[in-house]
């Protein structure tokens, strides 16, 4: 049986900010349903990969496709929007809309972008809030929630768009330590119960090991190692990966 067509394709991607080259000739693919974790030191380009996929930044050279459609060189805004809505993102700082209730945050995308009726969007919001354990907070404002609760709402908001790809950008970094486990457990559960493709940037190596099908180690804008977690965490090939893991695991 042949391998499925990749869902995400990075082909020779370069990203510069002025003179600063953040990603260099980066090529990789991600299969549908795959869970890929990006690790590496600060400035290695992990978050930039997610931002390029979410079109928050544009590639300097090379191309990105999702499901065979060009994301980096979409012919127009409408075509870009069609590809982009297959992707969701959860941010480190949650970025919930503080002028809306939790319900408002969850129904905004489905009603305005997917064209769902208010009733449909409300039902979807209620189901997702139950899923993330915050059913009773549907009419709360984000400022009335703890960081962990806000991040759960942010995950629910991304899921409300029924994305094929979910990008997780250090989603526990801004949380108090006692709130991290709950969010990671939720993500693991989502990983096991959905066929969403995950790209995840995290410093939680235990989570990366349990959650990922592949771990990509980045350094200086390049992927220096790409392996299943059980191999990368126990017997990394690259010396830079060894020193990085040693530093982060002994921290």
């Amino acid at each position: 049986m042949s391998a499925p067509d990749p869902l995400i394709v990075f082909d020779g991607v370069e990203k510069r900010f002025g003179e600063n080259v953040v990603l260099r000739d980066l090529s990789f693919t991600v299969a549908p349903g795959e869970h890929v974790t990006l690790i590496g030191p600060s400035g290695s380009g992990k978050t930039t990969i997610l931002r390029l996929l979410m079109t928050l930044d544009r590639v300097t050279a090379g191309s990105i496709t999702v499901g065979g459609e060009s994301l980096s060189h979409a012919p127009n805004e409408k075509a870009l929007s069609v590809v982009r809505r297959r992707i969701g993102m959860v941010f480190q700082q949650f970025n919930l809309f503080p002028n809306m209730t939790v319900r408002g945050n969850l129904v905004e995308g489905p009603t305005r972008v997917l064209g769902l009726s208010k009733d449909e969007a409300n039902a979807r919001a209620a189901d997702l809030l139950e899923l993330v354990g915050l059913g009773e907070k549907i009419d709360a404002h984000p400022t009335q929630l703890s960081g962990g609760q806000q991040q759960r709402v942010a995950i629910a908001r991304a899921l409300a768009m029924r994305p094929d790809v979910l990008l997780l950008d250090e989603v526990t970094s801004a949380l108090d330590p006692e709130l991290v486990a709950g969010v990671l457990a939720l993500l693991k559960d989502l990983g096991e119960t959905t066929d969403i493709t995950f790209l995840c940037v995290t410093h939680e190596m235990g989570f990366a090991r349990d959650f990922s099908d592949r771990v990509m180690m980045l350094d200086g804008g390049r992927v220096i190692e790409d392996a299943p977690p059980e191999r990368l965490f126990t017997a990394p090939d690259h010396e830079r990966t060894q020193t990085f893991l040693h530093a982060i695991l002994s921290h």
Binding site: Q93, F97, G109, R112, A158
Partner: protein
């Protein structure tokens, strides 16, 4: 002749109150122009549209660098030559509105800049249409922050309305001047005019201060 004549003061009060209505009307309509046009200016400048951005920047700079009185005279004397005939009242509304729009646009800009970048990014991540990003996410967060500053400009505009006596608008100070010129008693009409301004401006400024305190808390 006494400095203050109560009978005279009471006799002229209805005319001054009537003129105060004109002052308030100009302030309200001018504020609508200033608040809406300022918002349009701010959003357009944020869009960084080539040429439009430069023209708008130059226009704002010119308006802010020249006296309001000169602008009002310009509208009053130049517009008829261009075939546009407006009443002095309308010129007052447009003149004050456009002049203050260049200031309110800066206020809005500050409010928009204060909306965290993550909010724009979250809206992009949801693929929200551009218009909805503005109306549903950015402006509802930006405008409450700048309400006190906008309120201060409305109060400031209210106090600038007497400038329009230069083009013959019968607002409260001009009404006082006309009454004084007929009776040769100026103390009462100008004092009453001042008190009327105070009675409206002071509560308004208290309201603005309250808004400021609330915006600091939130």
């Amino acid at each position: 002749m006494p400095l203050w004549d109560w009978d005279y003061a009471l006799a002229i009060l209805p005319d001054l109150l009537l003129a105060l209505v004109t002052t308030i009307e100009i302030t309200v309509l001018g504020s609508v122009v200033a608040l809406l046009l300022g918002l349009v200016f701010a959003v357009l400048r944020r869009a960084h549209i080539p040429v439009v951005d430069q023209i708008l920047a130059a226009f704002i700079e010119i308006v802010r660098s020249t006296p309001l009185l000169v602008q009002v005279f310009f509208l009053f004397f130049a517009l008829p030559r261009l075939g546009v005939t407006l009443s002095a009242f309308a010129i007052g509304v447009v003149g004050l509105g456009v002049h203050y729009a260049t200031y309110t646009s800066e206020v809005y800009r500050a409010g928009i800049d204060a909306v965290p970048r993550g909010q724009w990014e979250a809206a992009t991540a949801l693929s929200l249409p551009r218009r909805r990003v503005w109306t549903g996410v950015v402006l509802p967060q930006a405008i409450p922050r700048v309400l006190p500053a906008l309120g201060n400009y409305v109060i400031s505009m209210f106090k600038e309305v007497p400038l329009l006596l230069a083009i013959g608008v019968v607002e409260v100070v001009n009404a006082g001047r006309e009454i004084g010129s007929q009776t040769f008693r100026y103390v009462e009409p100008y004092t009453i005019a001042g008190i009327l301004f105070l009675l409206l401006s002071y509560p308004a400024s208290l309201l603005v201060r309250r808004l400021e305190r609330r915006s600091v808390r939130t």
